[in-house]
């Protein structure tokens, strides 16, 4: 029997039927295809967490209100956590049932509970590993050793807990410059309590640290030179395990950066002397917070002398201080002297750039000698001064040579001027001579 498609009219019909069928299949495939990416995405990343809490709490006033934009930038929110992650309750429900006990609602945690609450995730290495395998998970353990943690355990709720430094509902990573724990902002964060004299009254510790630090070279390095590795409060005191370094360990803290000075200090007579007197190294002379740029005036016997605080006139220590100060002064003077001559030579148009460059090495020697001061042995300082003096002397000679060359040029000028005067005189007489025949009135 003839198949359906063999008859011409059936064939046409069959063709159009096939076309429709083909389009239908294509359409279904497309629909399936369109839903594919959505499903794939849904599997790759959890769908944005449903967080109905914000629907009401973003329009309430303090203390129940939450800034929606701030919360959007919160690092926890960005990783898919919701209000319920910390506060409990059901974020999917959009009525008061969300905050029911049945849903596990905890409400606002008590201050004493906050470290443990944060630690419930942040001290769980396996859990944090899912988000950032290199993130530390010892913050809670460290906190328990800190002054803050110990006092909190004793019932003092005035001390700092996690949220006081990191803020809450708008927590930013420390690398974000807007974060309260970004290196540039750390000191201000600590100062919120530690610079508040009224708040700190009962603790009987100074409250001038922030003011001192703000005037220090470390602060200047960070803020003016943009060196984010410069120390701030947490660098020396620790952040989670915040505690002041003990008298005996201050030097260890400073020497993490100031290695040379510490090594040299350890070779000096001061190490034993300070330890015996229970004086903190480094801090005794340089202070702890208001660390100023040291000057040669710290040595010797002048008004700014620090040595005079302990040493009295006539003792060997003061004599050493004077000797070191004199040596440093000698090199500084030598460098200034050759600088002056070189400047004069340069402004006379002479080429002295090599000598000016070499001056940098003399200045390096001075820098090195100022570090060697920490041995408190004049002989060592003098040994470092010598190369500097030699270079400064060499540059001085170069400058004087350049000035001599300049004088030689002026001599050359004088000679050529003489030749010109000779030529002009010759011309003048020659003119007179050839005109003495005619009666030209021109003279």
């Amino acid at each position: 029997m003839q198949s359906l498609v063999d008859k011409p009219e059936h064939r046409a019909q069959g063709n159009s039927q096939a076309t429709v069928a083909a389009w239908l299949v294509l359409g279904l495939l497309c629909l399936a295809g369109w839903s594919w990416p959505a499903r794939a995405a849904a599997q790759a990343k959890p769908a944005p967490a449903v967080n109905t809490c914000l629907d009401c709490h973003s329009s309430l006033d303090k203390p129940l209100g939450i800034d929606k934009d701030r919360y959007a930038s919160d690092v926890h929110a960005q990783h898919g956590l919701t209000c319920a992650s910390c506060h409990g309750g059901d974020p999917a429900k959009d009525d008061q049932d969300a905050m029911s006990k049945a849903a596990g609602f905890k409400g606002k945690p008590d201050r004493k509970q906050i470290p443990e609450l944060c630690g419930s995730c942040h001290a769980n290495a396996a859990y944090i590993h899912q988000f950032n395998p290199s993130l530390r998970t010892d913050q809670l353990a460290q906190y328990k050793t800190s002054v803050h943690g110990q006092r909190l355990a004793q019932g003092d709720t005035k001390v700092a807990v996690c949220t006081d430094c990191h803020s809450v509902h708008g927590i930013l990573p420390a690398s974000d410059s807007r974060s309260s724990v970004h290196p540039l902002n750390v000191a201000g964060t600590c100062a919120r309590c530690h610079a508040d004299a009224a708040y700190m009254k009962e603790y009987k510790i100074p409250t001038d640290q922030f003011a001192g630090y703000s005037a220090s070279v470390h602060h200047a390095a960070m803020v003016e030179r943009g060196d984010l590795s410069a120390p701030t409060c947490s660098t020396c005191h620790g952040n989670h395990g915040a505690a002041p370094p003990g008298v005996g360990s201050v030097e260890n803290v400073c020497s993490t950066c100031h290695v040379f000075q510490a090594q040299l200090f350890d070779q000096s007579p001061h190490k034993a002397a300070f330890a015996a007197a229970s004086l903190p190294s480094c801090v005794t002379c340089h202070s702890n917070h208001r660390i100023a740029h040291p000057s040669d005036a710290y040595l010797g016997t002048g008004p700014q002398s620090i040595c005079s605080n302990c040493h009295s006139p006539g003792d060997a220590g003061l004599a050493a201080a004077v000797a070191m100060q004199q040596d440093l002064g000698k090199l500084e003077l030598a460098i200034a002297g050759s600088d002056e001559v070189l400047d004069r030579a340069e402004s006379s148009g002479m080429e002295v750039s090599q000598a000016m460059m070499d001056q940098a090495q003399a200045r390096d020697a001075l820098t090195k000698a100022r570090v060697t001061v920490h041995t408190f042995q004049p002989a060592r300082v003098q040994a470092d001064i010598q190369p500097g003096l030699q270079i400064a002397a060499k540059d001085l000679r170069a400058g004087e040579q350049a000035l001599k060359e300049r004088d030689y040029r002026r001599l050359g000028l004088g000679v050529s001027l003489l030749a010109i005067v000779l030529a002009m005189t010759g011309l003048r007489l020659y003119i007179r001579q050839i005109e003495s025949g005619d009666r030209s009135p021109r003279s």
């Binding site: 060196d227 590795s229 950066c257 100031h258 290695v259 040379f260 750039s353 090599q354 460059m357 940098a360 090495q361 390096d364 820098t367 090195k368 570090v371 000679v415 050529s416 003489l418 030749a419 010109i420 000779l422 030529a423 002009m424 005189t425 010759g426 011309l427 007489l429 020659y430 007179r432 001579q433 005109e435 003495s436 025949g437 009666r439 009135p441 021109r442 003279s443």
Partner: protein, 166 residues
Amino acid sequence: MVNAREEAAVSKEKNNPVEGTPAPGRRRFVEVLLGSGLLATAVSFLYPVLRYLVPPASADLGSNTVVAAKVGDLKPNSGKVFRFGNQPGLLVLDSSGQYHAMSAVCTHLSCTVQYRSDQHVVWCACHNGVYDLNGRNVSGPPPRPLALYEVHVQGDDIVVSRQRSA
């Protein structure tokens, strides 16, 4: 005007019996004076020009290139500070015979760095900053690496040039 005429008349009378011609001796003197003046000035102008035309010993390679040293100046595992423009540069020949060149200005407080043959690193004596042979700051206070330069050996010269920007 009048004075000059009088002067000329007086000198004429003095020097020559024949009107209008100066004495031969005087003429000779003037000519010698003029000649020597012209010669002296010519020499004092030509001398600097001729010296100028001779190219100086150190060629002007521009601000981006310099001959840092000659082959053989450095022993393996040693370094040398050379001048690059107005700043010091450091040339190092490592133990495997390769040259490295970088800026010698420490990125901490601008002291001049040096090569430590015992530790095979670039070291700053001021505050113990350490860099590797690629200029990277590996330890100590320096906040940034040292700028690296290109080194080429041209015949007897070790030519150091700034890196061409990509």
